[in-house]
Subunit: 339 residues, 2 copies
Amino acid sequence: MTVTQADVAARAGVARKTVSNVINDYPHVSDDVRARVLQAIEELDYRPNHAARSLRSGRSRIIGLAVPELDVSYFSELARLVVEVAQDHGLTVMIMQTLGDRDRELAVVNGTYSQFVEGLIYSPVALGGGDLEQRRDKTPIVLLGERSSQGLVDHVGIDNVAAARVATAHLAELGRRRIAFIGTQHRPSSEIARLRTTGYREALAAAGLEVDERLIVPTAGYHRKDGMIAMQSLLDAAGPRPDAVFCATDLLAQGAIRVLLDAGLRVPEDVAVAGFDDIDEGSYSTPTLTTISPDKRQIAETAVARLLARAQSKTDLAIEDTVSNFSLVVRESTAGRPH
Amino acid sequence: MTVTQADVAARAGVARKTVSNVINDYPHVSDDVRARVLQAIEELDYRPNHAARSLRSGRSRIIGLAVPELDVSYFSELARLVVEVAQDHGLTVMIMQTLGDRDRELAVVNGTYSQFVEGLIYSPVALGGGDLEQRRDKTPIVLLGERSSQGLVDHVGIDNVAAARVATAHLAELGRRRIAFIGTQHRPSSEIARLRTTGYREALAAAGLEVDERLIVPTAGYHRKDGMIAMQSLLDAAGPRPDAVFCATDLLAQGAIRVLLDAGLRVPEDVAVAGFDDIDEGSYSTPTLTTISPDKRQIAETAVARLLARAQSKTDLAIEDTVSNFSLVVRESTAGRPH
DNA sequence: CACGTGGCCTGCCACGTGGTAAAGACTAGA
DNA sequence: TCTAGTCTTTACCACGTGGCAGGCCACGTG
C-alpha cells in the first residue's frame, strides 16, 4: 500500500530511525548508509507522510491566507506573491475565502484551521475591534490592510491616509476643483474606507478646497458595480458635475469610468479618475488608470517573514505594525494620452 | 497547552473514546452524555487535531487546486468557484501555483502533496502526453482545460474547437473578411491553442473565407503583453490590415485592443475583437469584450464532484471526459455601442 | 429465575513520524 | 593491549485520533 520509512529501512537494511535521520539531514550518518537509504527511497518512491510528520513535530510548514474574494485582482495578485514568497521559505499556502462573511471570518480567526496551519495572514472585512480581543486561539496572525484592532496582532499595510492624500493632491494639482470621493462606507468596521476618506479630506483642505459632502459617495462594496452605481448617482445629482473622482479601489474606478464614458464624458478631459491598488489591468484599460500602488511584494514578504518569526520564536514577540511603501502611478485617466 | 479529547473526556467524566464517538456522530450515545461532552468541548474550546485525524483515518478533507497563475482572472475566478463548491462539500482547498513551470507541475502531479490532499484539480500547462503516463502516484486527479493525455485521468472542459468556431463565425457573420487569430502556440504541449486554432480554421472554411497564415499569430503566453506584441506585429506587417481578431484568451484581447486604440483605430468599427474566457473585467472595459463564456461554475462543480466520487469509491471508476457548456457573449468589441 | 438481546460506553491498538538517549563501532593515545 | 573519546546507528516512546471488539447494564421473554 503506502510506502513508509519502515519499507525503506527494510530495503536499505538499516533501522527505521536511520531513514528518518537521513531524511532530516541528521549530520552523523555515514556516506554509505546515506547512499543506500536514498537509493531505497528512490526505488520505492517513498514520500513522507505529512499528517504523521505534522502530528509528531507539531509543525506543518503550511500557512493560511484568508482573503475576502479570490477573484478580486488586488487579492489574487497578493495571493500570488504570498504563495511565491512562502515557497521561497519552504512553506505551502492554504488559501481561504471569507467572502467578507462575518461567520467565516470568525471561524478563520478563531482557529478552525489552526490545527494544520502554522500561522495566518488575514485580510479582514467584517471583523472589528472587539472580535480579535476575544480570540482564544494562539496561532500567529498577521493582519493585512485593515488594522481592525490595534496592538493585538501584527499588522502590515501602507499609510492609507497619506496615500489618499497623495492621490487627491495629484487631482488638485491638475487644477481640478470639484473632486469627488467614491467608496466611503457606512459600516463602522471599515477602517480602510475611513482612512482613505480622511486623506481625501486632508488633501482638499491643504489645497484650499472646500469639502462638499455631496461629493463623498458611500458604496456597498468595492466592486466595479458599486463604482457604477456611485458614479451614476453623482451624475444624476443636482448641481455642477465633479471634474475629478478619487475612488477607494481600482475596481470602483473602472466602474466609474465606464459610466462616465457611457454618459459621453471624456476621461480625463471632463472628469479625471484615480483609483487605488494598482491592479494589473489598470495598465491596459482604456484609459489606463492612475492609481496608488502599494508595494505588494513588500507586503507579502513582510507578512510571511513576520509569521515565520513568530512561529519559530518561543518567547512572545512584541506586536509590530509595519508600514509598507506605496507610490502614485500617474496614467491616462488623470494625465491624458501622452502625445 | 493544546486541548485534546482526553481533556474533554476528563471534564465531562467519560472515556476519551466517548468524546471521539460524540464528535463523529456515533449513533449510540445517550443524550445526557452527548450534552455533557458537547458542553465540555465548548468550555475548553476543544478543536480536533487535523494531523492526528488525518493520520488515523487517512482522510484529510482537503483537495488541491493547481493553476498556473493565481492572478490571471480566468484562474482566480475558477479558484473562487472551486473553493465555494468544495466548501459546500465540507472540503478545504489547498491552492498551488505552478507558474507553468515544468518541474513544479511534475512535482504537483507526482504527489509531492499527495499525503495531505485527497484529490487534485489540475490545470496543466507544461506537461504533455507522456508525463501523466509515468505517474506512479495514485491520488485522484481531474484535469481542467488542456486534456494533456487521453484516457488516463478524468477531464473537465468545454469543446474548444466548437467554441472557437462559434466565435470566429460570429466575426464572419458581421461581414468581416480578414479575420486574424492571436494566440497559437509553438509549444507542442499546448493542446488548447491547437484546438482553438482548429476551430478558427474550420469557421473560416465554413464561411468560405481563405485562411491567410500570416494572420495566425503565435504568442509566448496568454497575457495582455503577449496580445500587445501580437497585435503590433499584425499592424506592422505588410498587406491589408485585418478587420477582425479572434484572441485565444480575454487577456490577449485586452492587449490587442489597447494596441489598436493606441494606433488610432476604432474597435469594433475598424477592427472587431473577440476573446475567450469571459473574465469579469470584460463586462466593464471600454469597449466591453465579446467573448466565449465557459460555464465555470459547472466546471468547478463537475471537477469537485468527480474527485469526491473517486476518493470515496473503493473500486476503480471508469475515466470520464466531461464536456461543459459554453456560450458566446456578444458585447461592444464586435457589436459596437448599442444606441 | 435464567437467558438472550440490544443499547451504551470503554479499553486496546495502530496510523507514520521525530525526539531523546543509550548502545554499538571505531579511532587514537598511552 | 587497554581506555577514553568520538562517530554512527539503534531502541523506545509519544504525538492525538478513529476502528474494532468486548464489557456492562437494563430490559423483555420463555
